[in-house]
Point group: C2
Chain length 391, copies 2
């Protein structure tokens, strides 16, 4: 990626034999946009990025794996400031040009000495592949998650690369979802932010593994401008639509990868709600279904238990009417207008549920609102991972 | 219980060899109060009870186990009306004097022929014990749940008996929490309703097993008046405070029994939140902790993972400040003012977590709001029960 160069090093944040510090150098003039966790107890890295995002430009990204540095008070904040100062000195830029994210155990201040030694090693390291960087930002991920796409802006083809870690909205011990997108497109930071916010709303904000929102969730998008396209500054610019679509597509790919690696997941579940009073209402109903332990365990058991879907619609607190509700699994309608369809063909439903990609469709029957969210099933694997993580 | 006589019969709602229909005959003049599910998709039984509760008096309670009769359209409503008519004919009362609750599989209309045959058998059956009635209303409960207490009103001692079923806010396939309280006290229905509503807010509404709210949750309280006390009509009457306290105590006992029988539960968890901006805010934070799969799996793993408690506070969406947050397990403070307490004594924490009764204390540090909720841990047992229920 022209203008974005990843390097990795061993800071040794945990006792493990692997790289755990990622340093991506960004060319001067790189625009940045980002979205962060809604948690009321965010990590100091999240607070740092939020402040830096108001300025709109970036020269470096540092990702620490193995220590989330969350809930660490002034010592945690000091570690973030030390990293920013050290990188700014190396690149001759402002500390606010340095974006920082950390993931791993909580409550232990990030050790500044290890971070600084890791940075020294990273500065001297050869450039690595995005695959290497993806492996380095991961913690309990069972596979490296990255995606790539392109868009045409005027006479230039721009590239977008995304890397992400996390096994859901949250992974064990709040090692969390961190996603980073790099593009060589030239685009103003405000426009990039608008596109990222919109893409986030329809992708990352539509996935859930276990309903637990982390203190550190962060997605950052960096645009180096090295593709040489006429810079995009407004949504009306030629190519802006194509770029926004490519960005949203990349975000969707990355979001789906996180769900597919959901802790203990054996199935990828798409929940489509239509006929709600509004899109926002449909979104809340879809999340109520996707977060229901009983729906998720039913799918794990390959059980067409639509009664649990009714339950989840009912508990969402959104307008719904039992007697207009219809439900399908895959392409097979199992309940319509509040009644089980007598004698519906169970064979295609059973066959659909035996697969790995499951679709639950719900028509509320009250309006035009619609939403889609993605989740995974809830299995013994989730319990094993999370009951035994620290011990 | 003077004025309340339970009988049971075999309606055969499922293929099982047990009684599954409970009929409690109530003396003329019995007052009734009730609280029902907040689900937007309630069962026809819930709708029936809501309408009947507006009249304030009762002559009978019918509980069907094995079929929830939810999401069954006009046929489900017809079954409820048929039962009410049949019982009203037997007792020479109004159909609206008959309270009905059903629990079990959803989406299958309650078979009217089986209900009527069951009623006929119940009318002819000898009076049974409350223990028998408790066993008959249960479905997947692993033990029968009942409690009893007394209160003094003037020169009379009144008795309160409660029976309940359910393995949480919801049990498999929406067999749900149904609770019934009987007292021989004389009390006006409006006053009884006020007391039950208040008790419910601090007991049944403060328990959660899996965050899934059922379509059929119902708690009804019946007061036969046979104790002969001077009837209670206002909160200022002598004995009203004592009765309200006894009712609340009974509700708390019943609520705790449901949590202790939570699906797959191995530990009973009390979550106490103080220092929130308001009691309502504290309640929402406490529920966020109690519903967090990561907190519940940590307790299952006997892991003092307070970072997950921070996460759950953060995601609650309520006012919270990382730097004023303090957390304890049992009596041992593990984090104070946003920082882990270095070198805190881990031995009493480990010992506390190995027990079956766990207490998590959280001080938000912002105000005077407080709340307590109860839940259970999340274990492999929950997955086994719910992934395999129908198949």
């Amino acid at each position: 990626m022209a203008g974005a160069t990843p390097r990795t090093a061993r800071a040794g944040y945990k006792k493990w034999d692997r790289t755990d510090l990622t340093f991506v150098e960004l060319t001067p003039g790189t625009a940045v946009a980002g979205v962060t966790t809604q948690s009321k107890c965010p990590s100091p890295e999240v607070e740092w990025c939020r402040a830096a995002l108001t300025l709109g430009h970036a020269r470096a990204l540092i990702v620490n794996a193995g220590n989330a540095n969350a809930f660490t008070g002034s010592r945690g904040r000091a570690a973030v400031e030390a990293i920013a100062a050290r990188v700014a000195g190396q690149l001759d830029c402002q500390p606010s040009d340095v974006f920082i994210a950390s993931t791993g155990v909580i409550g232990v201040p990030l050790p500044i000495d290890k971070a600084e030694a890791g940075l020294t090693a990273a500065f001297a390291a050869p450039a690595c592949s995005w695959q290497d960087a993806t492996n380095t930002i991961g913690t309990t991920d069972t596979f490296a998650k990255a995606a790539q796409t392109q868009a045409v802006i005027g006479d230039r083809t721009v590239t977008l690369v995304g890397i992400i870690k996390g096994s859901g909205m949250i992974a064990p011990d709040m090692a969390t979802m961190l996603g980073f997108i790099f593009t060589d497109a030239a685009i103003a930071p405000e426009l990039l932010q608008g596109m990222l916010t919109a893409a986030n709303r329809a992708t990352f904000n539509c996935i859930t593994v276990d309903s637990d929102t982390s203190t550190s969730d962060t997605v950052l998008a960096f645009a180096t401008g090295k593709a040489g396209n006429a810079p995009l500054t407004t949504v009306d610019d030629a190519g802006a639509d194509a770029f926004a679509a490519a960005l949203a597509d990349l975000c969707r790919q990355l979001a789906h990868l996180v769900v597919r690696d959901g802790e203990g997941a054996t199935k990828f579940i798409e929940v489509r709600v239509e006929g709600a009073k509004s899109d926002a209402s449909a979104h809340r109903i879809a999340l109520s279904i996707a977060n229901s332990p009983l729906v998720k365990t039913a799918i794990a058991g390959e059980d067409a238990n639509w009664g649990r879907v009714v339950m989840a619609v009912g508990k969402a607190g959104e307008p719904a009417d039992r007697d207009t509700l219809s439900i399908r699994f895959g392409n097979t309608q199992v309940a319509r207008n509040g009644l089980a369809i007598e004698g519906y063909d169970e064979a295609p439903v059973a066959s659909h549920l035996k697969g790995t990609d499951i679709e639950i469709g719900v028509d509320i029957g009250l309006g035009e609102g619609r939403a889609t969210v993605w989740t995974c099933d809830l299995t013994h694997g989730y319990i094993s991972i999370n009951a035994d993580y620290r011990s």
